[in-house]
């Protein structure tokens, strides 16, 4: 491959500042977009479209968390709560005010951003694990508020039923239409995040992550940029929440609990901290791995019953199902040992290999 910088010269600032300066990268991007927007929808069944939808939605949230944790170095365990805040804000705007979804998307995002920035205030005084515990509080406070304030939750069930997204008379009610919606939002999220992290704001984030005292000395306003990081990250979380609500037809806080926050942290750690592409890889990995394991375990059950017909089915299924959790944890450990810097590093290794291929020097 000729994916190298050698011999590419720019004669204008605009050309130098392009998101993808190399022609080959641009063509690769066009190819990937073609796969995502044209080829996959043509060949995929509902089953795979559903998985793709879930991955797209999760990827938006993972990118947001990576901006906060991976780029700015502020650990947050409250991502699930910010997703819930966005989901309910968006759902209420759609149901009570009757506004269309394309207003609810930014509105829910902004609402989550406000909430996130508020819970980000402790980050000015505390760091690391201490901050993690402070953001954990957000998880409990927001959950409690949603359950107990009926104006938000809409009654004892704490669930707001959301109509499907619609553009005028066109209702996006098939999985395919929803896939396009989610993919477009994800594309926007990726492009925005990639531009953000190479802007002055992104450089300020990275400076804070690497050494906040040094950042302050060179003139980065910590108060402003830390809260900004929380706000941007929560905006992404809020958008994720509304996408979930639109996709599932209901905003229900139970699916945005502490386990969700941990899942999102796992996505960015496995995908690669401080990497946009890694967030997408991580979202894919964490969403699809349980499904792949389920298929494997079903296969193992069939195999076991085939080999030992005398065994009790219920017991075989139970023991094999338990193996699934062990495998899930085990595979995460394996991936982290093989590549501590995440799936993104694996991808870079592959690229580096082909960059000098066929000569290894």
């Amino acid at each position: 491959m000729v994916n190298r910088e050698c011999g590419v010269f720019f004669s204008t600032y605009a050309a130098d500042m392009r998101l993808f300066p190399l022609p080959l990268t641009r063509w690769t991007m066009v190819g990937i977009a073609g796969l995502g927007f044209v080829v996959f929808p043509l060949v995929a069944s509902d089953y795979f479209l559903n998985i793709a939808n879930l991955v797209c939605i999760a990827a938006v949230g993972a990118i947001g968390l990576n901006l906060l944790v991976g780029y700015t170095g502020q650990i947050s365990v409250g991502h699930g709560a910010f997703i819930a805040a966005g989901a309910y804000a968006g759902a209420l705007v759609v149901t009570r005010a009757g506004l269309p979804f394309w207003i609810a998307l930014p509105f829910g995002g902004l609402m989550a951003a406000v909430v996130g920035a508020f819970f980000g205030i402790p980050s000015l005084r505390i760091k690391g694990l201490y901050l993690a515990i402070a953001t954990l509080a957000a998880q409990f406070i927001i959950e409690w508020l949603i359950i107990h304030i009926e104006w938000i939750s809409g009654g004892a069930e704490s669930t707001v039923t959301v109509p499907k997204a619609a553009i005028g008379p066109w209702v996006l009610d098939t999985l395919l239409e929803q896939y396009f919606l989610n993919l477009i939002v994800l594309s926007l999220a990726i492009v925005f995040a990639m531009n953000l992290v190479r802007s002055p704001i992104g450089r300020a984030f990275i400076a804070i992550r690497d050494r906040d005292v040094a950042a302050e000395v060179i003139g980065v306003n910590l108060f402003r940029y830390k809260l900004l990081a929380f706000a941007v990250s929560s905006f992404y979380a809020g958008v994720t929440g509304i996408l979930y609500a639109l996709y599932l037809g209901a905003a229900n806080y139970e699916q945005f609990d502490i386990a969700t926050s941990i899942d999102f942290l796992a996505m960015i750690i496995i995908g690669g901290l401080g990497s946009i592409l890694g967030s997408v890889f991580g979202a894919f990995f964490i969403t699809v791995l349980p499904m792949a394991l389920r298929v494997a375990v079903d296969g193992a059950v069939t195999a076991a019953l085939f080999l030992f017909p005398a065994a009790n089915i219920s017991h075989v299924v139970q023991s094999m199902t338990a193996v699934k959790l062990i495998l899930f944890g085990g595979l995460i450990i394996v991936f982290l040992i093989v590549e501590p810097e995440g799936l993104n590093k694996l991808w870079r290794n592959i690229k580096d290999y082909f960059r000098v291929w066929p000569y290894s020097y």
Partner: protein
């Protein structure tokens, strides 16, 4: 490079297992007719796994028994199984699997999952059964055409609990009105009975106060102390689950509260709760059930016989966690009954729309006499009457304390149909 070898091994083994699943499809036992497929979604690794294990064991054994006896008019029953660990994305994946496999009906498991799936199920015309999970107003069959709670909802349980207490109060010849305390899990499912309890308080004039148990439900000594010492409740209704019921039993015992003044909703009175609390500690404890308890019903003898013929022993859940095991039989039994009715009336091939009609014709569950109540599902009432039976823990066993009954049905139904106008 070492890493990539690892990867190759992992990917290869997963691919190998995949191939095995595709090739080694289940072999039908000599039955030639096309199978009827049910989607069975359950949790054996998540927070509700303590129920998932016995319920699925019961459902599986009952399905095998029906298949052994020739299936439904010769059509064997086939499961598309999906273990989802109480996670919504995994559950939706399962639903899409069900849809691709053309199931005629499926179990939905867990309140958040029902919310995420009922609309899709309605669009795709696949009936979903949601026994014992949230959303009491889904009993309104005209509004939720493809959702079948088919067992007493939390609202019906609230009605039955109050009726039981009022009956006991009268039976003991006491005057005045009882003081009732309600100990509930502080989440939507836990708070769901409130509208009914509050309405009944106004109607019946008893004293009523409630105490919340926060997640994860492991600490409730302050609440119990308050109920016993300060409020001095005459009766306690508990609506808690997972490890919490055993803890509540121990706390009430510790403060000397009589155990036969506590009545639990359906998720708080299984054998595993008694084992965790100690059978002697729980002596006298009342619990509500929407399926029979114990392994003495005729269907259990048939299942034991089936295992004997195969030269195996029945799973231990059948005897040790019969509450869950029997619920599993009931849940799948209702689906089988619906399929049988639909097949008799509309004939092969079955689909979701026909099965929906089949569910609405259910009047009692054949083959599960005793385990199932006199379930009567109608196009208007998808709950099937909201029957429960109250059992008591006595001498290391859970024994019946009442017959099947429902309490304040008028109040419950009024609430079910009122929500239609109330919201949106």
């Amino acid at each position: 490079m070492k890493g990539s070898k690892w990867l190759v091994t992992v990917v290869a083994s997963i691919a190998g297992l995949l191939a095995f699943t595709l090739i080694g499809a289940p072999v039908a036992d000599g039955q030639s007719k096309e199978p009827i497929r049910f989607g069975i979604m359950y949790d054996q690794t998540g927070p509700t796994s303590v129920w998932g294990v016995p319920i699925v064991a019961g459902a599986r054994d009952y399905t095998r028994l029906v298949n052994k006896k020739g299936g439904i008019n010769g059509h064997p029953i086939e499961w598309v199984e999906h273990e989802m660990g109480y996670k919504v994305p995994t559950a939706i994946e399962g639903y899409e699997r069900f849809k691709a496999a053309k199931v005629v009906a499926f179990w939905a498991w867990g309140t958040p999952i029902i919310y995420a799936l009922w609309e899709r199920a309605t669009t795709d015309k696949i009936p979903a059964t949601t026994p014992g999970f949230g959303r009491a107003d889904a009993a309104d069959g005209e509004r939720y055409r493809y959702v079948f709670p088919m067992a007493a909802s939390y609202w019906s349980q609230a009605g039955a609990g109050v009726k039981f207490i009022m009956d006991q109060w009268k039976k003991e010849g006491k005057t005045g009105k009882p003081k009732i305390a309600f100990l509930y899990w502080d989440n939507p499912a836990g708070r769901e009975p409130f509208p009914i309890l509050e309405k009944l308080q106004k109607q019946e004039g008893f004293q009523f106060k409630s105490w919340a148990v926060p997640t994860p439900g492991l600490e409730m000594s302050a609440q119990v102390q308050d109920i016993v010492r300060r409020y001095r409740a005459d009766w306690v209704i508990t609506h808690i689950w997972s490890k919490a019921p055993a803890i509540s039993i121990k706390e009430f015992k510790r403060l000397g509260f009589p155990m036969n003044r506590v009545v639990s909703f359906v998720w708080g009175a299984a054998e595993h709760d008694m084992i965790a609390a100690g059978w002697d500690v729980a002596e006298g404890y009342y619990g509500m059930q929407f399926a029979g308890v114990g392994a003495d019903y005729p269907v259990h003898r048939e299942i034991a016989q089936m295992y004997k013929e195969e030269g195996k022993t029945p799973p231990k859940e059948m005897f040790e966690i019969s509450v869950g095991y029997n619920r599993g039989m009931l849940w799948v039994g209702v689906m089988i009954e619906a399929a049988r009715l639909a097949l008799d009336k509309y004939g092969w091939p079955l689909d979701g729309a026909k099965l929906q009609k089949g569910f609405e014709m259910i009047d009692g569950v054949r083959g599960l006499e005793g385990v199932a109540p006199q379930l009567k599902i109608t196009p208007k009432d998808h709950e099937g009457g909201g029957y429960v039976q109250i059992f008591q823990t006595r001498g290391g066993k859970i024994v019946p304390a009442t017959d099947w009954f429902h309490g304040y049905r008028d109040v419950v139904l009024e609430a079910v149909y009122a929500t239609k106008e109330g919201k949106k």
